[in-house]
């Protein structure tokens, strides 16, 4: 396995870490995603009650996924780097 001088050389030569999503965009992404989650939640509340809640489940799933990413982006935007 590599020893200490080798790791130093490796660390200096490899490319820097880059995130999947640029950090500067995170506040805007958070706004869009959480805004969509809010809108979908409102739409969810207007849906008719059916025996098999297929439509409701779909809307809820989409809102949850957008909300999940939106909350993570929100946390990072305000300085709580999760």
């Amino acid at each position: 396995m590599a020893d200490y001088p080798q790791i130093i050389a490796l660390h200096r030569s490899l490319p820097s870490f880059t995130p999947y999503i640029p950090v500067a965009l995170l506040p805007y992404i958070a706004f869009l995603l959480l805004g969509s989650t809010f809108a979908l939640a409102f739409y969810f509340s207007t849906l008719p009650k059916t025996t098999i809640p297929a439509h409701e489940t779909m809307v809820a799933s989409l809102a949850s996924v957008l909300g999940g990413f939106g909350v993570v982006a929100l946390f990072c935007s305000v300085g709580v780097y999760v």
Binding site: Y4, L14, V71
Partner: protein, 491 residues
């Protein structure tokens, strides 16, 4: 024993030879220079050696028991060269009075071949205040004790020890008695330096017989112009975030002024007068300048009471990639901190200092192995301070696996644990390193390699999404339940 066991980085990969196989040498001259300081004392010993046998490549250096006890860092090199020579603990320690280390020379010496070996050590807790109490406006004096002779398993033609103080006032020094190896005055003082020697024709001294017959303790008392600082406990936590591309480093520091205890009460008036006339007392700490990494932001400095606003920060932008180490060393942010109250002798102050830095400055991605390599400095140097106990905890992202670490010097212990933080489900792996007696030479970087698969990155959004979905499911059920109170009820 405080000396770092030289088995990890500085050690050679030779098998330990337990049989005494040291080649014969002769010391033509030994010069030991001691730079007297506060909590740290730097000792440089230069051995001018001559080989008595052909093919000699292992030279043994000896440290006395007290010296070994105080030494926290040891490096051996040839004079004029940068590369450190590998050394290892010798197989035998004679009666616990002498500690022997074998140094491997880069090239074996022929008969009568010469070389100059420089041994640099840093001693901690080697000085103590004397007098033990000082009033607010008085000077501070420290005492340093040392052994008179530099021990060596070989014969020495001439040796001398020079103790150099930081200020010109040396208050007293021991005059050794009946030194049979001295031809002139055994101790002389000139300016800031006290010289013990030269002493001629000393036989092999790395034995308890020699120590019992000839070794003496010498003490030097000198004025020291800076506060003697000790970090009693340092807790460093480095947290990595891949989503935020951020490395947060937080230091919890307990600072102790190990100078002479304050005699009498603290007088704010006297303190203000001293600062006004710019004549601060040498044992009082008002300001300290710390060099933090370049590219940092969101720096916070608070203590038990709350935020401490008495600080000045000048940040530097992140250094570009591909700079040499020397250029990187010149890129730093400066933070001047002032504790909430001036630190008098014997006083403590605890505070928390932290900052955020872009993860790209410290971490790299190795596409070949699919691993990230992260570099975290062991500590931020507080000038002239010794760190008694340090704990460095590096928290990796959730789902990190295949964790390996490379430390610049061995730790007392390494532990792997789980750290739970915001939006965590399974917790984040954390590697903790424990250290003791760190000096200004222990400012290395710990490198950690780890893998985080793509799905592991999605743990957090999925966890939050599931929480949202649970709320929606609750709502779906709630809508279908009639919770009204019926007034017309048939009994």
């Amino acid at each position: 024993m405080k000396l770092w066991p030289p088995l990890a980085v500085l050690c050679s990969l030779l098998a330990v030879d337990l049989v005494w196989a040291a080649h014969s040498f002769e010391n033509t001259a030994i010069v030991r220079t001691v730079e007297l300081g506060g909590s740290l004392v730097h000792v440089t010993t230069t051995y001018a050696i001559k080989s008595l046998e052909a093919g000699s490549s292992r030279y043994t250096i000896a440290l006395g028991r007290d010296e070994h006890q105080k030494t926290s860092w040891l490096e051996v090199r040839l004079k004029g060269q940068q590369a450190a020579l590998p050394f290892e603990r010798h197989g035998t320690h004679l009666d616990n009075e002498v500690y022997l280390y074998d140094v491997t020379l880069p090239k074996a010496l022929a008969t009568n071949g010469t070389a100059n070996i420089v041994v640099e050590t840093v001693q901690t807790h080697a000085t103590y205040p004397w007098p033990q109490e000082a009033a607010q406006s008085e000077d501070q004096a420290l005492k340093y004790e040392s052994d008179l002779f530099v021990l060596s398993p070989y014969e020495t033609s001439v040796q001398r020890t020079k103790l150099r103080s930081s200020t010109p006032s040396i208050l007293s020094f021991t005059q050794p008695e009946e030194v049979s190896f001295a031809t002139e005055n055994p101790a002389t003082k000139s300016g800031t330096t006290v010289t013990y020697g030269p002493y001629y024709n000393i036989p092999a001294s790395a034995s308890s017989d020699f120590i019992a017959a000839h070794q003496q303790h010498v003490t030097v008392q000198y004025n020291h112009g800076f506060p003697v600082l000790e970090v009693t406990k340092l807790k460093r936590a480095a947290e990595v975030s891949h989503w935020g591309a951020n490395l947060n480093i937080q230091d919890e520091i307990i600072l102790h002024n190990a100078g002479p205890r304050l005699k009498g009460h603290f007088s704010r008036l006297q303190h203000q007068t001293q600062s006004y006339y710019n004549r601060p007392a040498p044992h009082v700490l008002s300001w300290a300048t710390l060099l933090l990494p370049a590219g940092i932001s969101n720096v916070y400095y608070y203590d038990l009471i709350g935020n401490v606003s008495t600080s000045r920060l000048r940040t530097a932008p992140s250094p570009p990639k591909g700079l040499s180490q020397a250029a990187l060393n010149n890129h730093f942010s400066t933070l001047e901190i002032r504790p909430r109250y001036p630190l008098m002798g014997g006083w403590n102050y605890s505070f928390t200092l932290g900052w955020d830095a872009p993860l790209g400055d410290s971490a790299v991605w190795d596409a070949k192995t699919g691993k990230y390599i992260l570099g975290v400095p062991v500590m931020t140097l507080i000038p002239g301070a010794v760190v008694d106990e340090a704990e460095v905890k590096i928290v990796l992202p959730e789902g990190a696996s295949d964790i390996e670490f490379f430390a610049p010097f061995p730790a007392l212990s390494n532990t792997l644990s789980t750290h739970i933080s915001y939006l965590d489900t399974t917790g984040r792996p954390a590697v903790t390193f424990e250290y003791k007696d760190l000096t200004d030479k222990h400012t290395g970087t710990i490198y950690i390699t780890y893998k985080v698969p793509f799905l592991a990155h999605l743990k957090k959004p999925i966890a939050v999404g599931m929480a949202f979905f649970a709320l929606f499911s609750l709502a779906m059920g709630w809508r279908r339940v009639d919770t009204r109170i019926h007034t017309k009820q048939k009994l």
